[in-house]
Symmetry: C2
Subunit: 276 residues, 2 copies
DNA sequence: CGGTAGGTTGAGCGCATTCAAGCGTTGTGG
DNA sequence: CCACAACGCTTGAATGCGCTCAACCTACCG
């Protein structure tokens, strides 16, 4: 048992030999010291968190936007609806869901405090997906035309807007890379890593996270079935990389975020260097 | 033989019954009339093509940008390089390649005339991927600070910029949906459909396309191996949805773009309604 | 004409899916 | 208060899609 699986990783073109050599002495998932967060990250997270707060303050001061409170399941906007507003989250968790013409449903993004919602609507004048609240939260409601006008006079606003869009583009590409190059176990680990990092960057505690998504939603987001998600989480728990809370399986403790990265590398290792 | 495969499609949550009923009388891949493009699409393509031309003209007039000619293999920018410019394609074909810290390589985007390159660099001040020319082409070199300043006085510029970013975000999500919800054969068909549509929207002929990517590159982009790409293309050719040029397998004829969509639906069909 | 890169196809295997059973938690109504 | 249904989660067994490995082919180029 403890069936350590060989990397699947659809087509790793070049430099895959590198991945092997950089992995170090193989299999050190359970580390003794386990410092909760790297110091360098802590500083970066502090800055990122402050940056989010400043951007929110800027928007509130310059645009005096309406605020809208949402509860789990509420739609901020819906695919097909005519575009007019952008939304900036001050709290809560959202998912973005694409719906194809033939009825396929796909979670294409997860959003946290400070993130913007609605960029997909600018180009075509209609929103291209649903923005669904996964918990109680609040968004700033920003009229696009008002923002557009304000940008001309307030460079800081335009900077904030462009930064947010740029970050979203970069993040979407990382998602695609994760789905395309990682086997199921590593994808789940990467998902947890991303979630923890997202919380950390916003100044929230990241060692104990509450997944607000069902296994089915996670699976949809990661391109796998809910059973595979469940199995991967169990495997992560067995490896000690995550710890489930006593009651219920929605809460996940992450003693050491770096162990998640190591687990991913372990999944990508071509073959078991030592024994399994 | 002619092993028509059942749908894999990782997790199609709801409304998947719809997909079945909307498919019509099942299996009509080879249609007699085969009009090259739907009339409604033709009008939309005309408009889109004109819109691209107008945007390029606007940029040239307002910013008098440098032009840069590139050849196959040239890098417009490279991941890690410090950000300073955006680029707008006037001709050619580009791919965007992400490189992860551990050496995984992933094609995360394909770009055509009128598309912008470099958005990923705005947020962090460094480009997050490589932009590689796949053919001879030309880009407008646009200093971001100059564009930023010009946007304040020229709303049309800001509109063009935001539209381009929005379109990119929406497109990236479609890519993710394709990778997550479609089986290999359908993914290849969707890739061809996207490529043909991209050409059509720019006023280029879309019934005869020259793939400027190797099977390995296509496979990387779609999250599968080059062998699977080859097999899927062969299957599409056997079904008559595409036709290979006599000499070489890089040129692909697409007699009827809609047949590609039908093929995708066929791949998604829960089970063979009639016989296989 | 040999060398190389890209492409096709077959055989076998394995990861992830499908199908299925069982468990824990929550919520509702008798 | 307790059945009982509904929902989410876990785990096992079997199947199959897509991957790996391999051989062979074509086109291109020095």
């Amino acid at each position: 048992m403890l069936s350590t699986q060989i990397a699947t990783a659809a087509h790793v073109t070049l430099a895959s030999t590198l991945a092997t050599s950089t992995q170090g002495p193989a299999r050190t998932l359970l580390r003794a010291p386990a410092l909760p967060v790297l110091k360098s990250d802590a500083a970066a997270n502090q800055r990122a968190s402050q940056h989010v707060a400043e951007t929110l303050k800027l928007l509130i001061e310059k645009l005096a936007p309406q605020r809208r409170v949402v509860h789990a399941g509420d739609l901020v906007y819906q695919g097909g609806e005519s575009f007019g507003h952008l939304y900036v989250m001050t709290s809560g968790f959202f998912k973005l869901v694409n719906l194809s013409a033939d009825g396929r449903e796909q979670v294409v993004g997860l959003k946290f405090r400070g993130d913007w919602l609605g960029f997909d609507g600018i180009a075509n004048g209609r929103y291209a997906c649903d923005a669904v609240a996964m918990d109680t939260g609040e968004v700033l409601v920003i009229r696009y035309d008002a923002l557009f006008a304000a940008c001309a006079a307030q460079p800081a606003l335009m900077t904030a807007l462009h930064e947010a869009m740029s970050r979203e583009i970069a993040r979407d590409r990382d998602s695609l890379m994760s789905v395309c190059t990682l086997p199921a176990d590593a994808r789940v680990a990467d998902f947890l890593r991303y979630w923890a990092e997202s919380l950390a960057r916003r100044g929230l505690r990241s060692d104990q996270i509450t997944l607000r998504m069902t296994r089915a939603e996670i699976g949809n987001y990661l391109g796998m079935t809910l059973e595979t998600v469940s199995r991967s989480l169990s495997k992560l728990a067995r490896a000690g990389v995550i710890v489930f809370a006593e009651k219920g399986r929605r809460d996940v403790q992450i003693p050491d975020v770096d162990a998640l990265s190591e687990f991913i590398q372990h999944c990508l290792a071509p073959a078991s260097p030592v024994l399994q």
